[in-house]
Amino acid sequence: MTTRPIAPKTTNTVWPQRLKDHVLPYLLVAPPILLMTLLIFLPAGQAIVETVWIDGAVTVAEYIKFFQSPILTANLWFTFWITLATVGLLFVIGLPLSLYLRFARGRIAAAVQMLALFPLFVPGVILAYALIRAIGPHGLFDTLLHQIGIDGYVSPYLKPQGILIALVWQEIPFTVLVLTAGLRQVEDTMIESARDVGASDWQTFWRIIFPLIQRALVIVFSLNVIGTFGAFTIPYLLGPAQPMMMGVSMQQTFNNYMDRTGALTQAVLTFAFCAAVGVLYVRTVTRSPEGRP
């Protein structure tokens, strides 16, 4: 009897497979994780430490200082309020617009889509200056009104409305893109089936379309909240001097008052709020697709 062990031939074929299954995924996610750690988590951690570790002891004094300052808390509330209004307006404008773009056909729809997406290709600074020229004092709008005999135009420039208009305009392309993508997942036949069994337009929207685009709605909501809450350029250029949005407030605290820790504290608060909304986003995006419990 020969009991010569035969080398398992399979190892040769198994190795590349194993490489593919167990090594490759880690290699692929390593660079982004490394970058995120270096550029986000480390500085964020450092910032948090810096705001609570003062003179060799753990303290929340900086945070108490923030919440005791009427100006800073006003800034925080102002930011909340602008964020809420912006995101609300984005839904009020973006959802009907996306529904229209999803279901309308023809040249007019194509033109509307181009107009809606246009701000996507305009940097925020330029957008802000264009708005100042258009609706600012003695701007295009003012002049036109004046020409036809209407005076007393109050420009939204340096007012909360100015920020609102610009932020909404800036975020509409993203909102419309995500919502139309979500709406395109709702097949025509699903909508026609609903009509077929007797649903009115409103019932079709509320019972079929709306539940099927929830993921898109949450994505739009969370990313817009994060983007608006942390906005800087537009509030800086178009907003009032007081109250300010958090981004502007941070910059002021850092540059004008040279208060590094105070600015960091505001940054940490902003970051904490955005991170909480980010969790909502991540949970929605990673949830299994519709209809698979």
Binding site: M190, D196, G198, R292
Partner: protein, 378 residues
Amino acid sequence: MSTLELIGLTKRFSGRPVVNDVSLSVADGEFVCILGPSGCGKSTTLRMIGGFEEATQGDVRIDGASVLDLPPNRRPTAMVFQKYTLWPHMRVAENIAFGLGLRGLPRTEIEREVKQSLALVGLSGYDRRYPAQLSGGEQQRVALARALVLKPKLLLLDEPFSNLDALLRVRLREELHAIQRRIQITAVFVTHDQEEALSLADRIAVMNAGRLEQLDTPDQIYARPRTLFVADFIGQMNLLPATLEDGRLRLGRHVLPAPERLPGNMPLTVAVRPEDLAVVAPNRETDPGTLWQARIDQAIDLGHYRKILAFAPGLFVDAQAAGTVRLKIYAPKHFNAREGDPLWLRPDRYLVYPGGMAPIEIRQPLVAADHSASAIVM
């Protein structure tokens, strides 16, 4: 009791007629299939009946009353689409109950109806599943249940099984047939699969390029296709150009008995089904003019029979046709067919199409000797 009438139904998309002057009527409890090649306007016709497409002209009447002014949610029709028809965020029971809920039925009644309709399509116990947890065939059955639960006057189906594999398609087709017979619902079924149409329909409406070519029973559609298009589209058919000469049909070097009272000076086409082409033993005594000589080019085994493709250059005047057109012939399984072998054929039954007019059928007696006795069936 529900009937459907289409009267001169026409649909134009930016001026281009897609459905052109289609008139037909469907009797109560009848199952009509709309059959035709891709893009001929079948779906558009069905969608006009269901209200998803506005008619450019003509009328759609259900039980004698025009429904053109009604939106789909108020028409007494129910539609089953080809795919993506269930709502993925609702369970099977919720899908079926949706329409009942909109009608404000009490909950217990809804539950009972849902149970009944699931039983009807053989899916009892599937009510808590989501569409994504069903196979394609099960999804289509749920769609059917959802349509039937509303007790529509008219069931509309747009290729409901064409996304399924062949075996399942046949099974579901048979189940649908049984259900339709049982509940006696009037139905219009769109398909581009002639086997499906032939096996399901009481009558078939064959469409081509937006027009209704023929509306007839499957038997008649197969036996006496009214137009050359239907002749070519349904089943296998040999189409041969012919001319009228001394009261006989001339096909190349061959002649065939011609029907009486054929209008002269018209391009004629002789249509022969493969099963009507008899393979005969080469007998020198029979009239060589009546037997067609052919040469086997290819023999294809199709289970219980063989399909033979053969050149018959003698049938054509045109040299190019003689070298390219192959006759389709059916032969028994044991028939010994080798490539290049000669073959003698006798058309026992054929249709003569004068120009664009209805065909005239001719049967030759089984004994080929006396062709003066050919039976002419008008």
